[in-house]
Symmetry: C2
């Protein structure tokens, strides 16, 4: 039997997907674990990726009328108690500050001192602390709507963590809005899940399904949670963003009231919505391959890296001048409204190692340029999404670089969409449902999205628990056909997506 | 006696400077106190100002070769203990996380549960946690230098807080670099204090003095601390940024070692440097007046606000179309490389109230445009830095707007420089020194910067404590003249700046 070709990432996706994921992160220098349990260090390449995501999202939030602000890291314990479901959802996994200084321990070292009168919680999410502030800001219908977003770190004391996907501390944005009517708040909830879907599909090249969460999967305290769900390459679902219609639950808990035009005092209607550094994990698992990270050009920190090739110092100067001029010409061009991001890697490292450095980091296009290329007016092009490299005239490459990036961006999206389509099934019987998910094993590719009619989630609980499957969402579109529940046979109005999930 | 003209801010600066400061913040809608002791809420107008500061600084850091990354919020208590001076400096004011969940209290409510094996400190600064990571990254001289910055929140449990100037939680950036030689690390320390001075003077329009801190005022664990010091309008000093040469103190505490070219294992040399939301406080106190906030145009969230004036709906449409076209023409122009930032305020609020809204928020230029102006092709211009408003042709205003903003930017700098010059004195005797600072009262304008030769700081301690004066810095420039200490009469090589300070 022929030996399989060696890949840059060991193990491969098919050999051990979870371990492949960790190795891609390591090989691409995105992040690493830290000395603090469950917290990671986001390294420069990973942080640049996050900055690009932030910039794009921030522009979209501002274009839809939101402003940024900043609220305290700490939440007084009593605030969390005000909304019953909310505290139930977060009390089990929060970091609690109980002291405000350290003092020498008689046995050596230090110990906490200065006990606080009331413990403070490091925010796991900010509905309660922001709501307390909004209660002061909102007096009249003229103060509404309030449309605010916050970029922040939050802490949830997860027992099992995985880089980017589930960490004790993570970076995110949380939008918190207040409205005079239920209709307006629902429209906001819908608008923001659409913004997230737009970002996922057009920036991350990641197809997503918009839908509603079932009651058991809702955000603690929400009336309705909308989410975007994506399929990773191991066929598992990943929830990539959520937008919550909170009804009057939080405004009642926190007395966010306003005087309506008719003079009546009313409770306001609130929403919240967020995405996090989890998106980096989603990006990795959507596109990367057995040679490492693959980045969609719109988000890649460097879109094109130029690798100058020369034998000695006499060639060096000429080649460097030449690649600088290519860089300048490329930087004068734009891709979807942004100037191209070009790097030159002139480190003293051998060619093969240098090439693989950028392959593993997911740079969309590599350009090798040596003295012969200068002579011929050519460049040697490597695409991250295809195994073959090819020569091309310098001027043609420069003229068509944005089109090439666009083709790659769309290609990644289409490849991900095809994977999802191939692994999505309409399922109408419990036995087919069991078969669909049964082949599963933690280290294998398996399952996918099952579209099934269902009547109520409670009766499905034992089956789902047994198969480790969850209801991802009830899709918002193309979901008006009535049917019967695949498991109970009861009449059902809607289909849901069932999948194993991150 | 004539009644003093009414000002938008009560009290005025001369009546009660500290209270005036709070009222400017409130009137400009920059921030407010939160339900969490010592923590503030940064409101949208204040946050936009901070975002503009961040963007400018971030560009400067990247232009000097730094990359951003992100490190954990928490620091294990044992890490803090490793550097003796460092822990001494921060142990008395840090938030300590001791538990990782909440459980129902038998008497009702909740209580902390799940005690951590080792308490975690919410970072007051990140030398120790970042250093522990760098120790893993640095193996060889080829891994150096490491030039990384982090934008983050930090917590220092201050007992007396004041918005922006001293809050329990604040936002900042902290650069942390590692070098192979002492010379390189010293050059980095110097480079970054120069970047801060450049930002303070050219963006904030705030003159600063660069100098070294005396040993007692150094960052805990540093070999040398450089700072920029500015004079506020009440003549007090404000430390606006610091850059620390840490020598090998932290690399020894944390085993940051590398193999040099000669094969020897050596301790690395590190630096750290930071500025924070304190800069917003400095900006407020540098330029604002008794009518509220005054913003330097380069950092103003809106540089020009257009106030459309009309009597009824028939006029409304014409005026709005007209001001939209003015806005579009202005936005096509640039000021110091950035497109102009223009807002239209079409809220249904009476003219006087609307004008004062923007005066108090510090918008550099107000433009009133009504039907008569459209007819005449004119605009009515209000400058925030001058009391008088004036008419001007529309086309001339548009053509000269960047020049006008530039004039205002320079004007603010010059006004602040003049204030500093008028309140700076060379002082050579203790009696003059006492007189200079004696008139002081918390609510009055007083004192200033005293330039004095001094021999050693310890012998001055009782005098300085008595007068509530501190040594701000030993200026780096024009400080080579020998003399005698103003207090002890001992021979002295350098002058220092003495002042009351924030």
């Amino acid at each position: 039997m022929a030996k399989a070709p060696k890949t840059a990432i060991q193990p491969t996706r098919s050999e051990d997907y979870p371990e492949w994921y960790q190795q891609v992160i390591r090989a691409a220098d995105l992040a690493e674990s830290s000395p603090v349990r469950g917290c990671m260090v986001i390294k420069p390449w990973g942080y640049r990726l996050w900055e690009n995501m932030q910039r794009a999202l921030d522009d979209m939030f501002k274009a839809t009328g939101h402003q940024n602000a900043y609220f305290p890291l700490f939440i007084p314990m009593s605030f969390l108690e005000k909304e019953a479901e909310h505290v139930e959802g977060f009390a089990k996994e929060c970091a609690v500050v109980t002291h405000h200084r350290l003092e020498p321990n008689p046995d050596g070292g230090l110990r906490p001192a200065g006990a606080l009168e009331e413990p403070l919680i490091v925010r796991p999410t900010s509905e309660t602390i922001i709501g307390a502030t909004y209660a002061k800001w909102v007096q009249s219908h003229r103060d509404l709507p309030i449309l605010i977003n916050q970029w922040a770190n939050v802490v949830r004391w997860e027992m099992r963590t995985r880089m980017f996907l589930r960490t004790a501390e993570f970076l995110w944005q949380e939008g918190h809005t207040v409205h005079a009517t239920s209709e307006e708040a629902i429209a906001e909830t819908q608008q923001m899940i659409n913004v997230y879907a737009d970002f996922a599909q057009n920036w991350m090249a990641m197809p997503v399904i918009i839908g509603s969460k079932t009651p058991a999967e809702r955000f603690p305290g929400a009336v309705e949670t909308l989410s975007i769900e994506a399929m990773m390459q191991d066929r598992k679902a990943l929830q990539a963003g959520t937008s919550h219609f909170l009804g009057q639950n939080f405004s009642k808990a926190q007395e966010i009231m306003f005087q309506a035009e008719n003079g009546e005092r009313q409770y306001a209607w609130t929403t919240s919505w967020g995405v996090s550094t989890r998106l980096v994990g989603a990006l990795i698992m959507s596109h990367s391959d057995d040679d490492g990270l693959v980045l969609p050009p719109r988000l890649a920190p460097d879109q094109i890296v130029i690798l100058p090739i020369y034998r000695d110092d006499s060639q060096r100067l000429e080649v460097l001048q030449h690649v600088e001029s290519i860089k300048a010409e490329l930087e004068a061009m734009s891709f979807l409204g942004q100037p191209l991001r070009i790097a030159i890697d002139d480190r003293d490292v051998r060619g093969g190692e240098k090439k693989w450095h950028h392959v593993k980091r997911g740079v969309p296009i590599r350009l090798e340029v040596g003295p012969k290329d200068i002579e011929k007016g050519s460049v040697f092009v490597g695409r991250r999404d295809q195994p073959k490299s090819f020569g091309m005239s310098r001027s043609e490459f420069i003229a068509t670089a944005p089109a090439l990036l666009d083709e790659m961006q769309k290609g990644l999206f289409n490849r991900a969409l095809q994977l999802r389509n191939e692994n999505t099934q309409e399922i109408t019987t419990e036995s087919d449902f069991r078969d669909f998910f049964a082949a599963s094993d933690e280290k294998e590719l398996h399952g996918g999205f099952a579209h099934c009619h269902f009547a109520d989630e409670q009766s499905l609980e034992p089956l789902l628990k047994d198969l480790k499957v969850t209801i991802r969402c009830v899709p918002s579109e193309d979901n008006d056909e009535a049917g019967t529940c695949f498991s109970t046979g009861k009449a059902a109005q809607k289909r849901a997506i069932f999948a194993k999930a991150y």
